[in-house]
């Protein structure tokens, strides 16, 4: 079933947008129009349909018009021309009340910079859509609680957004969108502001949630990896024009033009897959002030034979192995200072996999990914270097 259908949608910015459409139809480019008339072309003749339950990713670089396009879908930006059908009903030109009802019941939006209300608690933020609808307090509490549970933030109802990390804030943003139980989720670069690891985690969780809820999701991103991971189908935008729509396979194997090919080429080359893409959170770390026994227990709990030592700021200090630690235990020493091996292989997050290979071959420990301040971002198990090269996810 077609949930959303977008037909010949244009968005022109400027004083006389209607006059520009004939120029576009004559084949003038975005630059020419800007130079000659001072009008900006945001979206140029967009056409696509999204099926119920589908994740439809719109991908493009900044300035490609993807954020304008998604805002046309709930008319945060008024399209200049064209039709947008939601469940067969054209929402372009519908009256104010109908539009309000559609925004309240049918769609919800998640924003790049979270856009949470700083003066509301997390619970109130999540219940915002319901508050606007005039739901009573009890219903609001109940549904907000359910939505927060769904995104794994149970117990944070009374916190304020600025007390949470970025990842948690975006969970609140997602919960706020889910609380009204809309059919359609509009996600505008929803994970782009998050750290790579948190981002990956959120992508995985979105897929898990989606498997359960079967919403229709329009997801905007500038990141091809994200598009390929999430999208059932992907639309690639350039200068306001949708240049190709297809499944990830179709996009990878049959790019429509050079622009798409350039994008996709990068994916095929192992060179662009970087350390940050294949790193994971370490199973456990010990801090320097922890004793030997703590280190041993942590290794046993995580089922690993060596453990990284960090300081309070997560700067990497070295690694200790279970064998050394056990030997130390027999001697009855509490501090593991003497057995720390400081020769730990490290790398930066944007090192390509190809360059990681020699390091992986040389070491018997996982490789630590550190930032410029030598702070630990994640680790790469040696096996994942190989699977990364072979193009296997995880």
């Amino acid at each position: 079933m077609e949930k959303i259908k977008v037909k010949n949608v244009f968005k022109i910015f400027g004083p006389n947008p209607q006059k520009i459409i004939p120029l576009i139809e004559k084949g003038k480019s975005k630059e020419e129009i800007l130079k000659e008339t001072g009008h900006g072309v945001g979206v140029n003749n967009a056409n696509f349909a999204v099926e119920q339950g589908e994740i439809f990713v719109v991908m493009g670089l900044s300035g490609s018009g993807k954020s304008t396009l998604i805002r046309c879908l709930n008319r945060l930006i008024e399209p200049t021309a064209g039709e947008i059908l939601i469940d067969g009903e054209n929402i372009v030109g519908c009256d104010k009340d109908t539009l309000l009802q559609i925004r309240r019941k049918k769609m919800a939006m998640v924003f790049q910079n979270f856009a949470l209300f700083p003066h509301y608690t997390v619970g109130e933020n999540v219940a915002y859509g319901l508050e606007v609808q005039g739901e009573d307090l009890e219903t609001r509490h109940k549904k907000a609680y359910e939505a927060l549970e769904l995104v794994g933030l149970k117990g944070y109802e009374e916190s304020y957004p600025d007390q949470l990390s970025g990842g948690m804030q975006q969970r609140v943003g997602l919960a706020r969108a889910l609380a009204t139980d809309p059919d359609i989720l509009l996600m505008d670069e929803a994970f782009s502001a998050l750290d790579p690891l948190i981002r990956k985690e959120m992508q995985d969780e979105l897929l898990v949630l989606q498997a359960r809820m079967q919403k229709t999701i329009i997801f905007i991103t500038h990141d091809l990896d994200e598009a390929l991971k999430l999208g059932d189908r992907i639309a690639i935008m350039k200068d306001g024009v949708i240049v190709q729509i297809g499944t990830p396979e179709e996009i990878l194997t049959h790019p429509a033009d050079d622009y798409v090919r350039d994008f996709v080429q990068d994916v095929n080359r192992v060179k662009v897959l970087t350390a940050s893409a294949i790193m994971k959170k370490p199973d456990a770390v010990v801090s320097r002030k922890d004793g030997n026994k703590v280190a041993i227990r942590k290794m046993q709990e995580a089922g690993i034979s060596s453990i990284f030592v960090t300081d309070k700021e997560r700067h990497i200090r070295g690694i200790i192995t279970i064998d050394d630690a056990m030997a130390l235990l027999k001697k009855g020493e509490h501090s593991f200072e003497s057995i720390i091996n400081t020769e730990v292989p490290t790398t930066s997050p944007d090192t390509s996999i190809v360059d990681l290979l020699p390091i992986a071959v040389d070491t018997k420990y996982p490789i630590v990914v550190v930032d410029d301040d030598k702070k630990m971002l994640g680790i790469i198990v040696r096996v994942s270097v190989l699977s990364g090269i072979l193009g296997e996810e995880e």
Binding site: I102, F111, A115, F117, H119, Y128, V132, L186
Partner: protein, 276 residues
């Protein structure tokens, strides 16, 4: 070329207003006077030490210990200088002017924030109100409202209202665009947006405007005294005109103390609004 005489049109306008709108002015006069006298009667009904105690507790709760101590010492000093009744008279005038200025100014500021046209029209009027020397409208005010506290209050409202209008407008316009967008995307109406999102987020800025308005109202005390508004202004004025330097100084000190107490308390009000 002949001298361009804009002044005569202004005179004609004042004369027309005086002749035709007298019942309106009379009504306003009665209302404003009732407000001022109400405040005054209330403030003077409470014994000075009780009121000082109340204000100190208030300062403590809102602005902390050091401001509370300052309030106590300052107000006691006023009482010991035997300037308490005059201070309360001045405070009544300031409170009345502030209440009127806020009742008109905050809605006007909100209106400006919602419509650019209103904003553009109002701005020059506000400039006018703030920069036109007060004496210029003091005389018409006396013609409309007679001598006494009422024209003083009216002149004070004209002079003190612009900051709260401007800062209300500014505060609402400064609410981050992404938050507005989020509220819109969830189907908030304009009214819902204003009450639950824009006003709360603009509150600390609006309170800064309230603070400014109170301060400006206090700065009009001496000028209002020239048309018989009484209070501390009269003390200062008498000091100046009769060369009683000491007396003028005492009145001046009382004004400063009152200003600082009101300023610190209202300022902290704005800051506590900012943290949450």
């Amino acid at each position: 070329m002949d001298k361009l005489q804009i002044g005569i049109y202004f005179e004609a306008l004042i004369e027309w207003l005086t002749n035709n709108l007298e019942p309106v002015f009379e009504g306003l006069r009665t209302g404003i006077l009732a407000l001022i006298e109400g405040f005054e009667a209330f403030l003077l009904f409470i014994p000075s030490y009780v009121l000082i105690a109340i204000l100190v507790v208030l300062a403590w709760k809102i602005a902390g210990k050091s401001i509370a101590i300052f309030t106590a010492v300052g107000l006691l000093l006023i009482d010991l200088m035997w300037l308490w009744p005059q201070t309360m008279q001045t405070l009544s005038l300031v409170l009345t002017s502030t209440v009127i200025a806020l009742l008109m100014g905050i809605p006007l500021g909100i209106w400006m924030s919602q419509h650019d046209v209103v904003d553009n029209v109002t701005r020059p009027i506000l400039d006018f109100m703030q920069t036109m020397p007060a004496f210029v409208y003091l005389i018409p005010a006396v013609i409309f409202f007679d001598l006494g506290e009422v024209p003083g209050a009216v002149a004070t409202v004209i002079f003190a209202m612009p900051p709260v209008v401007r800062l209300t407008n500014l505060g609402i316009r400064q609410v981050p665009e992404d938050v507005i967008e989020a509220a819109r995307s969830y189907g908030a109406t304009r009214k819902q947006m204003l009450i639950r999102v824009q006003l709360p987020l603009a509150m600390s800025t609006i309170l800064a405007g309230v603070n400014q308005t109170i301060m400006l109202a206090l700065s009009m005390v001496v000028i209002s005294a020239m048309i018989g508004a009484g209070g501390l202004g009269e003390e200062v004025l008498r000091g100046v005109t009769q060369m009683e330097i000491g007396k003028g100084f005492e009145g001046g000190i009382a004004v400063v103390i009152l200003a600082m107490v009101l300023d610190r308390i209202t300022q902290s009000l704005g800051n506590t609004g900012k943290t949450k």
